[in-house]
C-alpha cells in the first residue's frame, strides 16, 4: 500500500501544482482518472487505526476525510474546480502526506 500512497500523492500533488502555478485549472478530468486510487486509500484509512492514533483524534480524522471525499464527489458532479482543488490540495494531500512523510522518516532512520 505504501507504494500506492506515494504514487497517489505524487499524482494529486502534480495536479494541485499545475492548478496553482501553471493556471491549469481543468482538474476534473485528471482527478476523475484517479478516483479508484483515492477510494482505495480512503477505504484503507477508514478500515482500521493502523498507526495507533489516539481514538478520538482518529474518529475526527475519519469524519474529516469523509467530508473531503464528499466535497470531491460534489465538485465532480458540479464541475466545480475551486472546490475540487480545495478538497485535494488542502484536504486529501494532508492525509497522504502523513504516510509519505512517515515513510521518508523511516527510510532516513534505516540509513
Amino acid at each position: 500500500m505504501e507504494e500506492k500512497i506515494k504514487s497517489l500523492f505524487q499524482s494529486v500533488n502534480l495536479i494541485a501544482m499545475d492548478y496553482l502555478f501553471r493556471q491549469k485549472q481543468n482538474n476534473i478530468k485528471p482527478i476523475q482518472e484517479l478516483i479508484p486510487q483515492i477510494q482505495e486509500f480512503v477505504l484503507w484509512f477508514l478500515e482500521e487505526n493502523r498507526f495507533g492514533i489516539e481514538e478520538e483524534l482518529y474518529r475526527d480524522m475519519q469524519n474529516y476525510l469523509l467530508q473531503v471525499l464528499e466535497d470531491i464527489s460534489t465538485a465532480m458532479s458540479q464541475e466545480d474546480r475551486v472546490l475540487l482543488h480545495d478538497a485535494i490540495a488542502y484536504g486529501l494531500i494532508d492525509y497522504l502526506k502523513l504516510f509519505v512523510e512517515l515513510q521518508e522518516a523511516e527510510t532516513d532512520d534505516n540509513l
Partner: protein
C-alpha cells in the same frame, strides 16, 4: 459611509458617471444568479454561486488565500504600467494580492461578467486605496457603454505589440464554468488583438523597406491622381457594388459576371484581372495593396488602362506599368496627407481589413453603395486550391490541407483555411455587423459559390444576385470621366515642389539626428562619472528633448522610422522598463538613443540619395515657363 458608498465615490472620481451607471443597472437588471455566503474553515466569508442548476464555489473553503498568492508568484516580475487582465471578482483575493503585493504601478483591467457579483464585491471590499495605488479599470457586463465591441477597442488600445510581453492574464477559477460564453469571448478578444498586433508587426517587418521604397517611387502619381472620396460624387448610389476576389470558386461563376457589366460598379482585386480579361470581362476598377505584387499578375492587354485604386505603398512595378486613372486614399502617411489635403480636407479613408479584397469591399461601402456582392471571396482553400485557375498559374495545384483550420462553409459543411484568411473572415463578419448597425439597409450578398461562410451576409448564386440587384443601366467609365484630378494646377505645382524638396528634408533630418546622437553621447559621459552633475544632466535631457522633437517634426521622419521597425518597438518597450538609479537609467537611455539616432541618420542619408535619383519630378517646362527662364537668363 458604507463600503459600497465609499467605493462608488472612488469609482466616480476616476470614471465620472460610473456611480450613476451602477445605480441604473441595480434598478434595471434582472438577477441571473444567486450568491450564497458561507464561512470558510478559517472563519472568512466566502461565496458560492448558483446559476441555473449548477452551484460552484468562487473561493476555497479550506484555504481561501493560497491560490491567489501562488498566482502572484507565478506572474514573475511585473513591469511598471504592465497591463494585467483579470476576469472575475467573485474571489477578490486575486485582485487583492495583485494590488497589495505589487509595488510598481500596474494597469489592471478587471472584467466582471456578472453585475450581481460586482455589486456584492462593491458592498464588501473597500477599493479606494487600491485605486490610488494602481490604474484599475472595471469593465462590468450589463453597465451601459460596456458592450463587448467597446471592450475589444479597449483591449486593442492597451494590448499593443510592445506591451504584449509584459501583459498577464487570468480567468478566475470557475468563471469559465459559470460564464463559458463570456470567458470564451474574453479570451478570443485578447487572442484576436494579440494576433492582429503580431501580424501587423510581421507585415511591417516584411514590407517596411519595400513599402517606403514604393512610397517614394509612387508619390509622384498623387500629382495627377484622384481621391477615393471623389467616387461618391459620380457613382450612382442606387446600384450594387461587386467585389471580384481571386479565390478558387471564381472559376465556377466568372462567366456570369458579364451580365453584371454596365449594371453595377465592379472592382476586381489585382490577382483576378487576368482570369477576368481572359473571359472578356473588363472590371470598372481594380484594386491593389500589396507592395510586392509582381507585374506579371496584371500584365495582359487591356489591363493597364483600367482605373486603379491603390495604396501608395503598393507595388511600384505595377503602378509604373499602369497608365489609367489612379485613385488613392489616406493611409496615415504624413507626406501623403500633406498632398491629399492640399486642396481640401476630404481625403477619404478605406478600412483595410488586411487584404486587397477587404479594402475594395470597404471602399464600396464607404462611397455609399447600398448593396455589395462578393464573388470569388472564398477565404478558404475550396477544392484544396489557394486561388482561381488562371491567376498565378493556368491551373492551380492542389495543396495538402489536412492540417489546416476547418471553418463552416458557404456551400460545403466545412472548408480548410489558414490563419490570415480566418482573420479576414472574422473581419468581414464584424465589419458588416457594424456597417449594418450604422445603416440598416446596407446588404452584403455572398455570391461566392464555395469557400467559407461569412457572417451577416446573404448567400446566393451570382446568377440570382445579378437578377435581383443589377437592374439599372450605368456606364461607370462615363461617370469616372466626369472627375478632375484631385489637385488643381496651383496645388499640383505646389505638390511637385514639395516632392522635389524631399532630398533637402532628408538632409536636414540627417543633420538633426546626428546632433541628437552627439547629445546622447554627452548624456552617457555625464552618467559614466562617479558623481552625477544633476544640473548638467537635466540640461542635456532638455536639449535631447528639443532635438528629438525636431527630428520627429520632420516630414521625412515617418519614413525613416517605418524602416526601423525593430528599433521602434525596442524604444516603445523601454517605457515599461525602469532602472534602479537615475544614473543607470540615463546610461541605458543614452545607449539606445545613440544607436537609434545613428541608424536614423544613416537611413536619412540613404533616402536622401534615393529621392534625388528616383523621386524628384523632372518636368519639361511649359512654353510660358521657358520664356520666363530665358528672360531671367538674359
Amino acid at each position: 459611509m458604507t463600503i459600497y458608498e465609499e467605493n462608488l465615490k472612488a469609482l466616480s472620481a476616476d470614471y465620472p458617471q460610473m456611480d450613476r451607471l451602477i445605480e441604473e443597472a441595480k434598478e434595471n437588471l434582472e438577477p441571473e444568479l444567486e450568491i450564497i455566503e458561507e464561512t470558510s474553515y478559517d472563519g472568512e466569508t466566502i461565496i458560492k454561486v448558483q446559476k441555473e442548476d449548477r452551484i460552484c464555489y468562487l473561493n476555497g473553503k479550506r484555504n481561501t488565500k493560497e491560490p491567489a498568492e501562488k498566482w502572484i508568484e507565478s506572474l514573475g516580475t511585473l513591469e511598471t504600467n504592465a497591463p494585467v487582465f483579470l476576469m472575475g471578482l467573485g474571489n477578490p483575493s486575486y485582485l487583492k494580492e495583485l494590488v497589495e503585493q505589487t509595488e510598481k504601478r500596474l494597469m489592471i483591467i478587471v472584467y466582471e461578467p456578472s453585475f450581481q457579483i460586482f455589486q456584492y464585491f462593491l458592498e464588501h471590499i473597500p477599493i479606494h486605496r487600491w485605486m490610488e495605488k494602481h490604474l484599475i479599470v472595471f469593465w462590468v457586463k450589463g453597465l451601459k457603454g460596456m458592450e463587448d465591441a467597446v471592450m475589444k477597442n479597449l483591449i486593442g488600445r492597451i494590448l499593443r505589440f510592445e506591451t504584449i510581453p509584459f501583459s498577464r492574464r487570468l480567468i478566475s477559477p470557475n468563471y469559465d464554468i459559470l460564464f463559458p460564453e463570456e470567458a470564451l469571448a474574453f479570451i478570443k478578444m485578447m487572442r484576436d488583438v494579440t494576433n492582429n498586433e503580431l501580424t501587423q508587426y510581421n507585415t511591417q517587418m516584411l514590407f517596411s523597406t519595400v513599402a517606403v521604397q514604393n512610397l517614394l517611387d509612387n508619390i509622384k502619381y498623387l500629382c495627377d491622381g484622384y481621391k477615393t472620396v471623389q467616387l461618391a460624387q459620380v457613382i450612382p448610389d442606387d446600384i450594387p457594388g461587386i467585389v471580384v476576389a481571386a479565390g478558387p470558386s471564381l472559376n465556377k461563376n466568372i462567366k456570369e459576371l458579364k451580365k453584371a457589366k454596365g449594371k453595377a460598379f465592379i472592382i476586381a482585386v489585382d490577382t483576378a484581372i487576368k482570369p477576368l480579361l481572359a473571359e472578356g470581362i473588363i472590371p470598372d476598377m481594380f484594386a491593389m495593396v500589396d507592395g510586392r505584387k509582381p507585374v506579371m499578375l496584371v500584365k495582359k492587354e487591356g489591363a493597364k488602362e483600367i482605373p486603379l485604386v491603390a495604396t501608395i505603398t503598393s507595388s511600384s512595378e505595377v503602378m509604373n506599368y499602369h497608365t489609367g486613372m489612379k485613385f488613392f486614399y489616406n493611409e496615415g502617411s504624413v507626406i501623403m496627407d500633406r498632398i491629399l489635403m492640399k486642396q481640401d480636407f476630404h481625403y477619404g479613408t478605406v478600412d483595410t481589413g488586411g487584404s486587397v479584397a477587404t479594402s475594395a469591399f470597404s471602399l464600396l461601402y464607404k462611397i455609399g453603395l447600398p448593396c455589395v456582392i462578393l464573388v470569388g471571396q472564398d477565404l478558404a482553400y475550396t477544392g484544396n486550391k489557394s486561388h482561381a485557375d488562371g491567376t498565378f498559374n493556368d491551373v492551380m495545384k492542389e495543396e495538402d490541407t489536412k492540417n489546416y483550420i476547418m471553418v463552416e462553409g458557404n456551400i460545403e459543411k466545412e472548408v480548410p483555411t489558414i490563419a490570415n484568411l480566418k482573420m479576414y473572415l472574422d473581419w468581414y463578419g464584424n465589419y458588416i455587423e457594424s456597417a449594418q448597425k450604422a445603416d440598416k439597409n446596407f446588404r452584403v450578398i455572398n455570391a461566392t459559390e464555395g469557400g467559407a461562410k461569412i457572417r451577416n451576409t446573404e448567400v446566393m448564386t451570382l446568377h440570382d444576385a445579378i437578377e435581383q440587384e443589377c437592374k439599372r443601366e450605368v456606364n461607370i467609365q462615363e461617370c469616372l470621366q466626369k472627375l478632375s484630378p484631385m489637385l488643381n494646377e496651383e496645388s499640383r505645382k505646389w505638390a511637385v515642389e514639395y516632392i522635389n524638396s524631399f532630398p533637402d528634408k532628408f538632409l536636414a533630418l540627417e543633420k538633426e539626428a546626428k546632433r541628437a546622437k552627439r547629445l546622447y553621447q554627452k548624456l552617457a559621459t555625464i552618467c559614466n562619472k562617479k558623481n552625477i552633475d544633476v544640473k548638467e544632466y537635466k540640461s542635456v535631457l532638455k536639449k535631447i528633448e528639443k532635438s528629438v522633437k525636431k527630428v520627429e517634426g520632420n516630414d521625412m521622419y515617418q519614413l525613416v522610422n517605418d524602416t526601423m521597425v525593430n528599433a521602434r518597438y525596442i524604444l516603445l518597450r523601454e517605457q515599461f522598463h525602469y532602472e534602479n538609479t537615475v544614473q543607470k537609467e540615463g546610461k541605458e537611455l543614452a545607449r539606445k538613443g545613440i544607436l537609434y539616432m545613428e541608424n536614423a541618420a544613416k537611413m536619412a542619408a540613404l533616402f536622401g540619395e534615393y529621392t534625388r535619383e528616383y523621386t524628384c519630378i523632372k518636368e519639361t517646362p511649359t512654353e510660358e515657363e521657358n520664356i520666363n527662364l530665358e528672360e531671367t537668363t538674359c
